[in-house]
């Protein structure tokens, strides 16, 4: 098993650059981070992009599809969306897109708050190849293959490292 540090700031810069060229940035978009890792990333992006409206935080614990298996997440906290969702352009931020189940839960929760004009999915990393639901990221810092594992820790400093398993070693 090897562990490789990745420069989180570079990923954040890449995302900001890509986001700024998107037309929704002219439409007063609202940013939402998914607790916990996504909220850390969103905080950085929100600062770096100098966004006016406050950052929203989603806790998707009550929306997970595995409640009947794992029960409640003991660290669940309330979601905090400080503005109306209706007709807003939402930038949904998570740390890693992997199976797509978290995004499904987050979208369900967002739509329980209202009907957004659009949702743009931003993740620090797109872990490709193991999707279980039909989602794709709009803006990402980097892509990796899904047999590699990513560790994200934060909020300050935000650290990202790549963990590589090789099956032969097992």
């Amino acid at each position: 098993m090897t562990e490789l540090n990745i420069d989180a700031n570079q990923l954040l810069n890449t995302i900001c650059e890509k986001l700024q060229s998107r037309p929704i940035m002219q439409k007063d978009p609202k940013m939402v981070g998914i607790r916990t890792g996504g909220a850390w990333v969103a905080q950085k992006l929100h600062e770096q992009l100098n966004m006016e409206s406050p950052l929203g935080i989603l806790d998707i614990s009550f929306y997970r599809d595995d409640f009947s298996k794992t029960g409640l997440n003991p660290t669940v906290k309330p979601s905090d969306i400080p503005w109306e969702i209706d007709d807003q352009h939402i930038i949904l931020v998570d740390d890693v897109l992997f199976t797509g189940r978290t995004v499904r839960a987050a979208l369900n929760e967002i739509f329980d708050f209202g009907r957004p004009a659009s949702v743009t999915l931003v993740t620090l990393i797109d872990r490709k190849g193991c999707r279980e639901l039909p989602f794709q990221v709009n803006v990402t810092g980097m892509e990796i293959e899904c047999h590699k594992t990513i560790k994200v820790s934060g909020p300050d400093p935000l650290l990202v490292s790549l963990v590589e398993h090789s099956e032969e070693q097992a």
Partner: protein, 359 residues
């Protein structure tokens, strides 16, 4: 503690987690704290709004009220709806039991309608325990008040209200004023306050409305309200339970107000930031003055709102514990299977790659 040395608590499952919620007796600080923390997660900290969440979708909860109730029943229904459960409320006092059906037959019929949880209010002490003993293993029972015995969700919402205003129940001086003898709410409140280690619990009222030995409950008794309210952080007023009094235990309501009613003047004896609570329904001019009930230190209406979140928490935790127990059992079963197959095929050396945590 070895399970052999103590009778198992019928409220807890094999993993020591809450399965039925019947009384606070026998529960630990961590059980209560989990309920309070979970309740917190249902309330938006900025707006106090309680949002609907989908966790109990597909579960059926039946409210069986053998005794009339407005507040408790309504907040239970709202709580169940906010958890996305399917809800049926039965006014049993006016239904089948009147036609001669036994309690157990009623229970089994309702269970056959695919109930996952019963919320029960009954005039007899022990009714919820009785139900819990007879339901199918996958069905849960929640006590919404039984006779003079217990009303655990009310006590928990009171603890939640105290925590919201005072930060913690630990180290507070709490005075409970009124009809302690007939009140299931007070019994549960005293248990909750003891488990959460309040510094001092006082009960205040005429001797005729007190149990023979109030000290046995771990409380200090005061028959003088002025002395009892001195320097307390929390005042809990409870109403006279006229429907549970078989004889006149107080001269008159007027007299009671004169001796024990909470007035602004008496409230001033408590700490300046003391809060005033009341489980409702309040009787203005009997146990509490309107100026106090509607005053700045009163948190009576917040208690009602918090009741929704606390009841959501209890129901969510019970279903979550059931899910975790089922998962635990199936893991145990597959572990045993694995060991069996390992023994059978010792030649098979291929190993599954270990799957590590996703970030």
């Amino acid at each position: 503690m070895s399970p052999r040395l103590s009778a198992p608590n019928p409220q807890l499952n094999e993993l020591g987690k809450i399965k039925h919620f019947l009384t606070l007796e026998g529960l630990k600080n961590h059980h209560l704290t989990e309920i309070l923390d979970t309740a917190e997660s249902f309330i938006n900290p900025n707006t106090n709004e309680i949002k609907k969440v989908p966790i109990l979708r597909g579960k059926t909860i039946m409210n069986l009220f053998f005794e009339p109730s407005t507040r408790t029943r309504t907040t239970f229904e709202i709580a169940e709806n906010r958890l996305s459960a399917d809800v049926a409320s039965l006014d049993i006092a006016t239904s089948a039991t009147k036609k001669g059906e036994s309690l157990l037959d009623t229970l089994w019929n309702l269970q056959a309608m695919q109930a996952d949880m019963f919320v029960i209010r009954h005039a007899e002490s022990g009714a919820a325990h009785f139900f819990a003993q007879h339901v199918a293993p996958h069905v849960h029972v929640l006590n919404a008040g039984d006779g003079q015995h217990a009303h655990p969700t009310q006590a928990m919402l009171d603890m939640f209200t105290i925590r919201k205003h005072k930060g913690d129940v630990f180290d507070l001086k709490v005075a409970i004023v009124g009809d302690v003898l007939h009140s299931r709410v007070v019994r549960s409140q005293i248990q909750a306050l003891s488990i959460l280690e309040a510094r001092e619990i006082r009960v205040i009222g005429p001797k005729t409305l007190m149990p023979t030995h109030p000290e046995a409950m771990g409380v200090h008794y005061y028959d003088n309200i002025e002395a009892g309210l001195d320097d307390v952080d929390v005042i809990i007023m409870v109403r006279l339970q006229n429907e549970r009094m078989s004889s006149a235990l107080i001269p008159s309501e007027k007299e009671f107000f004169k001796l024990y009613g909470l007035t602004e003047k008496r409230l001033a004896l408590a700490k300046p930031d003391a809060i005033v609570m009341h489980p409702g329904p309040i009787n203005r001019g009997v146990e509490i003055e309107s100026a106090v009930a509607d005053g700045p230190q009163s948190v009576i209406l917040q208690q009602v709102t918090y009741g929704i979140a606390v009841r959501m928490a209890v129901m969510a935790i019970i279903m979550s514990n059931a899910a975790q127990l089922a998962q635990h059992k199936s893991e145990q079963a597959s572990l045993e299977l694995e060991i069996d197959s390992e023994l059978e095929s010792k030649l098979d050396v291929t190993q599954k790659p270990t799957r590590s945590e996703e970030a």
